[in-house]
């Protein structure tokens, strides 16, 4: 019996605003606990919320980027429940009139591109952070009131891989749009999933469960894989699925029941009487539309066009906004953009992966890369030397021309010196010479290797090759 899976996601994104959603407290990461707080975000008697207009703008921009319909009239509601991380014991959110309706995000999964529809995007305030230390529980309200943008998808995904791909996709859009840094370590992005299974052939969807508490993208994949297995096993054994909220335990890799529908909260939503509705004119929305940054797909097409890059290169480079930025800046200072692209896709990506860094953390500048490529193309250094210098620039920064001198990597192109080394190799390896003359190509490579060794890697390989061929009488 084959089972089909249906998955929907609710992704919470912390917006990149200077201050909180409803008060003027700063949102900087890493402050000492309970130092970025005020009567409003602590829920003191008499405190009142005031809407952060920048958060509205970022949410509408996101909606515009994914093709949502922007609601010209939306409002905030109170979602009522008690928990120690809730300063007011109600959360200000948007219930039935969100800022953005609909939209879609394209995901790449297993080599295919698919569209995942969005139900809505809305704004709400984040809760405080609970910490459990030995037998004490402590609450840090620095995070309370931070603006959260919630993206809700339709149940359009059908595998944990697709869900994973979806989480990567908005990250790209949001980083490109400067909406959110989407940094997992800082907690910028969190998600809840809904999933259900049904036997192939059945048209109605199965009972869905909601899973919370996945703190990493990998966790999402794990949780979904486990939950789908659990549901399939239950159905196969003739049991029914209970509609409930389950908690993902990352240590054990399983989901466990948190509360059933019967215990489900009645949040008693009602419009927040302390806030005016949000009204957006067509003019305002058009003005924001004109401020939209170039999106990944557009950038990819442009890189292909403007820099005459192959589609593959353009795609790799545009996947990360900051890589694309680096490429364009370097290409401006280089003769051949394709060469720049090659260096980024090979040496740069290799070192970034090895050291688990992002491109902005590498010390090499676009200008330095362009300079390095220039030195190579003018034969001042050879490719081995260039790679060495690249590694140093990556690690420590600096100027490539200076490094050539400091590291003594200037390529030797002086025919006099080169001829001497060629003669040295030929005279010292008579067997290789005769091997080569009797047709063994490998012997030529061996002789080249020897010459490079004599020159400590600095010989100009092209000239050496010509000289060697001449000396061998070819």
């Amino acid at each position: 019996m084959n089972y089909l899976t249906t998955i929907g996601l609710e992704v919470h994104v912390q917006l990149q605003t200077r201050t909180k959603m409803f008060c003027a407290c700063r949102t900087d990461f890493g402050a000492a606990p309970n130092t970025q707080v005020c009567p409003v975000c602590l829920g003191y008697p008499g405190a009142l919320p005031v809407i952060n207009q920048e958060a509205i703008r970022l949410t509408v921009m996101t909606g515009l980027m994914v093709g949502s319909r922007i609601n010209p009239w939306s409002k905030f509601d109170r979602k009522n429940y008690f928990y120690p991380d809730m300063p007011k014991n109600y959360q200000i959110t948007q219930f039935d009139q969100p800022l953005c309706i609909g939209g879609a995000v394209e995901i790449d999964c297993r080599g295919q591109t698919r569209s995942v529809r969005l139900t809505r995007i809305h704004l709400e305030e984040d809760v405080a952070k609970n910490m459990h230390i030995r037998d004490q529980s402590r609450v840090d309200f620095n995070r309370a009131g931070h603006p959260l943008m919630e993206i809700v998808t339709e149940p359009d995904m059908h595998s944990p891989e697709e869900a994973f791909a979806f989480l990567l996709a908005p990250k790209q859009i949001l980083v490109y749009g400067l909406i959110s840094p989407c940094n997992l370590e800082e907690g910028n992005l969190r998600c809840d999933v809904n999933c259900s299974v049904r036997p192939e052939g059945q048209t109605t969807l199965g009972t869905k469960t909601e899973i919370k508490n996945m703190n990493t993208f990998k966790g999402v994949h794990q949780a979904l894989t486990h939950e789908i297995q659990r549901q399939v096993a239950a159905l196969a054994a003739g049991e029914s699925i209970v509609q409930e909220t389950r908690r993902f335990d990352s240590d054990r890799g399983v989901t466990e029941s948190m509360r059933t529908k019967e215990d489900a909260h009645d949040y008693r939503y009602f419009p927040d009487p302390d806030l005016m509705p949000v009204t957006l004119t067509d003019e305002q929305i058009e003005a924001w539309k004109s401020m939209l940054p170039e999106l990944p797909r557009q950038r990819c097409e442009r890189l292909e066009r403007e820099y005459a890059l192959p589609a593959y290169d353009a795609k790799v480079l545009s996947a990360d906004k900051y890589v694309a930025d680096f490429f364009e800046e370097a290409a401006r200072g280089a003769a051949n953009p394709k060469t720049v692209s090659n260096w980024i896709m090979t040496e740069m990506m290799r070192l970034l992966a090895e050291k688990e860094l992002e491109i902005r953390q590498a010390k090499i500048t676009p200008r330095a890369l362009a300079g390095l490529i220039g030195l190579l193309e003018s034969h001042a250094i050879n490719s081995a030397g260039a790679k060495t210098i690249f590694a140093v620039l990556f690690e420590k920064g600096g100027d490539p021309a200076e490094l050539v001198g400091q590291l003594g990597l200037a390529q030797v192109s002086d025919t006099g010196a080169l001829e001497a080394w060629v003669r040295q190799a030929v005279e010292g390896n008579p067997k290789s010479v005769s091997d080569y003359r009797s047709g063994k190509e490998a012997a030529f490579k061996f002789l080249m290797g020897q010459i490079m060794r004599f020159s400590k890697g600095k010989a100009n390989p092209q000239i050496v090759q010509d000289l060697l061929k001449k000396q061998l009488g070819v």
């Binding site: 003191y44 008697p45 008499g46 529980s137 009602f270 009487p273 005016m276």
Partner: protein, 497 residues
């Protein structure tokens, strides 16, 4: 010459400006009056004498340096739910024991900028829920005109201390009548401004869409003065109005020529006690004598006001009071087993029974399955109530009505039946629902020497109209000159206002 504590705000300010004494003398005398009278009246929850004198001395020093605030050195009593930085703000509840305000409410900050002093936390119904101040967790306040009777509520402490000359003026808050009712029962002026006229930032919220800060004063001029200072848009309150603030004292004139005053028939019903009805009728005739034209009008939605009010107010309150949980400030029960246990036991012990009743009611009307039938429906009726007023204000400038069906009743008389208690708001709650303005001005006494208040209702941002009407009426009568001392009627000697 009247004693300092018997003066109005403008009278005291004039005397200070004239150099006939310092703020220290004023506050010293006031504290003496409080010490003498408050043991019987119990209008104050707290009076920090040392702090009061410190504030007075600071004001005197500022005055010597040329300080010019409109209320420099003049003390005001504050209802216990307004945040005054450094003072306790318990809202007459055990739930906020130990809580001291870390900030000034905007209205307080504006008064402070004009040099006002904040002396005394006035008693109130717990979290502003009540009509008699009997719901205070700490003490009962007695009506200065008859210590066996209620001062009204929820700003009963504010009304009582003003009436007893234990304060020159006081701030209260009005959600369904909580400034106007104590003003009426205690024989002073009480003003509820248009919703959004005064910032609510720093006013502990009961019902967010109904609450307004309001002054309780000895005369209309003082009310206009306080409104002038506090009114105006506040960035910290999204519901505060950007409407410009006119000069309220300039609108005070001694006649009512050209004014059309409406009498809504639904407010002149058999349920109003004869002596109260009599005072109101006399007042209406008096207004005619001052040049006003009286017209009959109708507010057909009036019978639905109480139910609408209690549904909306309790719904909003159930969410507004959720923050009182013992986690971040205030009272917390000891030895709780887990968060839920802590919440349950803290709120059970911290809240009084009326507060609990309203929270439960509010949660009920918002709950799944009932939200549409109660909350949504009540909001729709609210819109109809507002439309009623829009319509009548096309036919007249202001309305005259009683404030309450009776004068002050006995302590304990209504506490057995909360619903009976709720009916005290019958003439006042519609005003809050419609978001318009109204004031209570003394208009007579019953044969038991209990004050009766005349309610003057105006359209949204019509404070100039109602203050003018109130002033003209007040200045042509003597009611404000009758004083109380130890609950007995004093010989009616002429005093300087």
């Amino acid at each position: 010459m009247p004693a300092w504590n018997e003066l109005t705000l403008h009278g005291a300010k004039a005397r200070l400006d004239h150099g006939d004494g310092a703020s220290r003398d004023l506050v010293g005398t006031l504290l003496g009056a409080i010490r003498a009278r408050d043991p019987q009246i119990q209008g104050y929850l707290e009076v920090d004498e040392a702090d009061a004198l410190r504030q007075a001395e600071a004001a005197d020093a500022l005055r010597k340096k040329g300080g010019k605030g409109k209320l420099l050195g003049v003390p005001i009593a504050i209802k216990d739910l307004l945040n005054v930085q450094g003072q306790s703000c318990r809202c007459a509840s055990r739930m906020l024991e130990g809580y001291r305000s870390p900030y000034d409410a905007t209205a307080i900050a504006r008064l402070r900028a004009e040099g006002a002093l904040f002396v005394g936390r006035a008693n109130m119904d717990e979290f502003a829920m009540g009509s008699t101040t009997e719901n205070s967790a700490f003490q009962i306040t007695h009506n200065p005109w008859d210590l066996a009777r209620v001062p009204g509520g929820s700003s009963g402490g504010s009304g009582a201390v003003v009436a007893a000359d234990e304060a020159l003026a006081a701030l209260g808050s009005d959600t369904g009548g909580s400034v106007r009712l104590p003003a009426s029962f205690c024989g002073c002026v009480g003003l509820k401004p248009t919703y959004g006229r005064i910032s609510r930032y720093g006013l502990t919220a009961f019902a967010s869409s109904l609450d307004q800060i309001g002054p309780l004063t000895k005369d209309i001029r003082d009310a206009a003065l306080l409104l002038q200072i506090m009114a105006g848009h506040d960035d910290m309150d999204s519901t505060s109005s950007p409407a410009p603030v006119p000069d309220y004292t300039a609108s005070l004139r001694k006649d009512l020529k050209g004014m059309k005053l409406g009498l809504p028939k639904e407010y002149f019903i058999d349920g109003v006690e004869p002596e109260v009805a009599h005072c109101i009728q006399q007042a209406i005739r008096h207004c005619e004598g001052l040049g006003a034209t009286i017209v009959d009008v109708s507010l057909p939605m009036t019978p639905y006001a109480i139910a609408t009010y209690y549904i909306i107010a309790c719904a909003e309150a159930s969410a507004n009071l959720a923050r009182f949980d013992g986690v971040r400030y205030g009272f917390r029960v000891k030895d709780a087993a887990d968060p839920l246990d802590m919440y349950r036991r803290t709120r059970a012990a911290g809240f009084g029974s009326e507060v609990k009743r309203r929270i439960i009611l509010g949660a009920y009307v918002l709950s799944s399955g009932y939200y549409d039938a109660y909350y949504v429906r009540a909001q729709k009726v609210r819109a109809l109530i507002r439309a009623d007023f829009d319509k009548v204000f096309q036919a007249c400038d202001a309305l005259l009505t009683p404030v309450a069906p009776t004068a002050a009743y006995r302590l304990g008389e209504k506490t057995a039946d909360p619903l009976q208690m709720y009916l005290s708001d019958i003439f006042t709650a519609s005003v809050n629902l419609a978001g318009i303005c109204a004031l209570s001005v003394p208009c007579g006494f019953t044969s038991a020497n209990l004050p009766v208040g005349l309610q003057i209702v105006g359209p949204a941002f019509g404070e100039e109209t109602i203050l003018r009407a109130g002033y003209a009426y007040e200045q042509s009568t003597d009611w404000r000159l009758r004083k109380t001392e130890d609950g007995r009627r004093k010989a009616d000697t002429r005093r300087q206002p």
